[in-house]
């Protein structure tokens, strides 16, 4: 059994939070007239950082489900969409139709909608989880894919409720009392605060009894069952947690974009989420933000640099490279960029220790 290193984790959290806070602070205080995007050569902007934070929350959930419980989901964008639509519908339609006057106008209504979305999505995941998680491997992948598709297509119908294919617009920004969590710099701190909180909670789940049960299921479901793990229940729990996190991220996305439509929640997004989780390392919670960031930076870099270097308009080339990079990462770093990177550093250190004559285990 791996030793639980709560100490190392605490340091990691503090360091990570400090870096994130420092990056945000650059944009708030603008030292020497610098902006955040200048630090990265205008490739990563504040906007990208917020998107990375939002998707980190989804990918952490996916990590719990895929890396620890060993259950694949190709429909995570569906849960993400449920959260976004819950927030979108509750905050715009109630106000437009004058339902619940006095309540729908308050600042805490949006937060209530967010929580309602999480409860609804979690409940939905619980209901579909029992039958669906009986499936395994590729079959589970396809069932979740179908689920994601159905949510996506249905969200494009019912114009009265979801706005149809045009979606909902003018979703209000979040605020706490009179303090608006906007402009972007403020929202950055909210999103990343939540993302770090989610990471901490997830790391704790992984190191708890539930986490051990999840890993046991991943290694061998039958053995876990005979050792007294209620495998069905634990798997459903993992799905519900991942769905609730996706819903939270969806709500944050809705208030960030101030609009929702079926398009950003399609099958491609589900695939991207799985890819981000895989690139970050499936059984590494800390890999999530790096996996998300890696894919964002690759596609942004390709987009901006390709246009500058090759003078090609309209894109296309960057998607070719994106696909090739994806394949290369999966072939050469199948454990994910973070895990493989850590492994590499460890090997280097071992080699260094050996050459300097120090005994290591």
């Amino acid at each position: 059994m791996k030793r639980i290193r709560s100490h190392g984790n605490a340091i990691g959290v503090v360091l990570f939070a400090a870096v994130i806070a420092a990056l945000g602070a650059v944009d708030v205080f603008r030292p020497f007239g610098l902006r955040f995007s200048d630090l990265t050569g205008r490739i990563v902007t504040m906007d990208t950082m917020i998107r990375i934070g939002i998707l980190t929350i989804v990918v952490v959930g996916l990590n719990l489900l895929m890396g620890y419980a060993g259950q694949i989901s190709l429909g995570q964008a569906g849960f993400y969409a449920l959260g976004a639509y819950a927030s979108g519908i509750l905050t715009t339609l109630a106000a437009r139709h004058g339902i619940l006057p006095g309540i729908a106008d308050t600042w805490w209504w949006a937060w209530l909608a967010m929580i309602a979305g999480m409860i609804l999505t979690g409940g939905f995941a619980y209901l579909v989880g029992r039958p669906i998680l009986r499936l395994k491997g590729n079959y589970l992948a396809m069932a979740t894919l179908g689920l994601g598709f159905i949510i996506n297509i249905v969200s494009g119908e019912f114009p009265g409720l979801t706005g149809g294919n045009d979606g909902l617009t003018e979703i209000p920004r979040l605020r706490i009392g009179g303090f608006a969590l906007w402009p972007m710099q403020r929202y950055y701190f909210l999103v990343w605060g939540m993302a770090i909180l989610v990471i901490v909670v997830a790391v704790n789940i992984v190191n708890s009894r539930v986490g051990r049960a999840l890993r046991a299921i991943h290694t061998n479901e039958t053995a876990a069952g005979t050792s007294g793990v209620d495998t069905e229940r634990v798997k459903v729990q993992a799905l519900v947690i991942s769905a609730v996190l996706a819903s939270l991220a969806g709500s944050l996305y809705a208030h960030f974009q101030s609009a929702v439509s079926p398009n950003p929640f399609g099958f491609t997004v589900s695939v991207q989420l799985v890819t981000m989780a895989a690139v970050g390392g499936l059984s590494s919670i800390w890999g999530a933000p790096f996996g998300v960031a890696t894919l964002f930076v690759i596609s942004d870099l390709l987009q901006s640099r390709m246009e500058n270097v090759l003078h090609i308009q309209g894109g296309g080339y960057e998607m070719i490279l994106y696909g090739i990079l994806l394949v290369l990462i999966m072939i050469f770093l199948p454990a994910g960029v973070t895990t493989s990177g850590v492994e590499w550093v460890r090997r280097l250190r071992r080699r260094w220790a050996r050459s300097s004559g120090v005994e290591t285990v």
């Binding site: 895929m66 694949i72 039958p131 669906i132 009986r134 499936l135 395994k136 491997g137 590729n138 079959y139 992948a141 396809m142 069932a143 894919l145 179908g146 689920l147 598709f149 159905i150 297509i153 249905v154 494009g156 119908e157 099958f267 695939v271 799985v274 890819t275 895989a278 499936l282 296309g316 080339y317 960057e318 998607m319 070719i320 994106y322 696909g323 090739i324 990079l325 994806l326 394949v327 999966m330 072939i331 199948p334």
Partner: protein
């Protein structure tokens, strides 16, 4: 165990029940729209046409899955590539008669796509052959993204046209029986499906290399011990899948307007058909494909076309939950393997 062509007691009663329930439901809904019998026959015929394409695609899924255990997301891109290469060659200025040019274009479409399939296997699947199922799925998705983006660059974002086989022009000959219309291209599609089915049967059951492929699908390790090279078989499976996809795309070309992203939805439908058929049996997925085409078309016809794809995914989930081995009986391997 995957045996491709094993004669198995087909669960006729189960299928008949499903079909009966769906027919009654569609009759009830259709009567609201005052549909005549001709309307239904038309819907069913159109469904059988679409279903034939799904069946061709599903065969590609089955061949790759049985031999390598991989769900190949790029199957839909093979269809797109087949159609696109074919129409490009056909549009070239070759010193050939229109009919010969069409034949050359079809051959080029199938051969080049097969080559791409082999390249894909050698470059992406072979180096990662020991990876987990998730990794391999993501790899095929990566290939899909690359192929689709390349197609967008080469052929642009606009839909293209492929001339009909019978007339070698955009206008196809149409046969009318009462109120029912059948395009000549539909007959080509059904004939192609039948010919492919026979060829595949002969190849898998009567040739040595086909038998080796089947052996690999039954038990890779045992096949290897018998001197069969599983890596070569994996390559062959991808080549076969690419060829099947390309043929599907080419015969479908004249009835749709081929576009660079046509592979996405086709691929998913082909996969649903494969699931209906149990993922490991060729006759199973042919029935699955035809069934899916008909159900989908009827459902879309009597309700709203927007729900066409919802129907296929509801069928997908229902079958996965109720009978993961497919409604035609079949693979015991499937649920345990991955």
């Amino acid at each position: 165990m995957p045996r491709f062509f094993q004669r198995r007691p087909v669960r006729i009663i189960g299928i008949a029940l499903i079909v009966a329930v769906l027919l009654i439901a569609s009759l009830a809904l259709g009567s609201l729209k005052h549909y005549s019998p001709q309307n239904y026959i038309q819907l069913i015929l159109d469904g059988l046409r679409a279903g034939s394409i799904y069946a061709l695609m599903a065969m590609g899924f089955v061949v790759v899955y049985s031999v390598t255990g991989i769900i190949n997301f790029a199957q839909g891109e093979f269809v797109m590539l087949g159609a696109m290469i074919c129409l490009s060659v056909d549009a070239m200025n070759l010193p050939l008669s229109p009919a010969l040019k069409m034949i050359a274009a079809i051959a080029a479409g199938v051969l080049l796509t097969t080559g791409i399939g082999i390249l894909m296997e050698r470059l992406t699947i072979y180096p990662a052959r020991r990876s987990s199922a998730v990794t391999l799925i993501i790899i095929t998705i990566g290939v899909t993204i690359t192929l689709r983006a390349a197609a967008l660059l080469i052929w642009g974002a606009d839909p293209h046209v492929l001339p009909a086989f019978t007339t070698l022009a955009l206008e196809d000959r149409i046969f009318r029986f009462g109120g029912v219309m059948i395009q000549a291209q539909s007959l080509w599609i059904w004939a192609t499906l039948a010919v492919i089915l026979i060829l595949l049967y002969v190849f898998l059951q009567r040739t040595l290399i086909g038998k080796a492929l089947r052996a690999c699908a039954v038990n890779r390790r045992a096949a290897q011990l018998m001197g069969i090279n599983p890596s070569r078989m994996s390559m062959l499976a991808f080549a076969l899948a690419a060829a099947l996809g390309a043929v599907g795309g080419i015969v479908l070309g004249p009835v749709t307007r081929p576009i660079y992203d046509m592979g996405v939805m086709l691929g998913l439908r082909g996969f649903v058909a494969a699931i209906i058929g149990g993922l490991v049996s060729v006759p199973g997925v042919v029935v699955g494909g035809l069934l899916l085409g008909v159900i989908e078309n009827l459902a879309a016809g009597v309700t709203d076309p927007a729900f066409k794809s919802v129907v296929s995914f509801i069928i997908l989930i229902a079958i996965l939950l109720l009978r993961p081995q497919g409604i035609l009986g079949g693979g015991e391997k499937s649920t345990e393997e991955l």
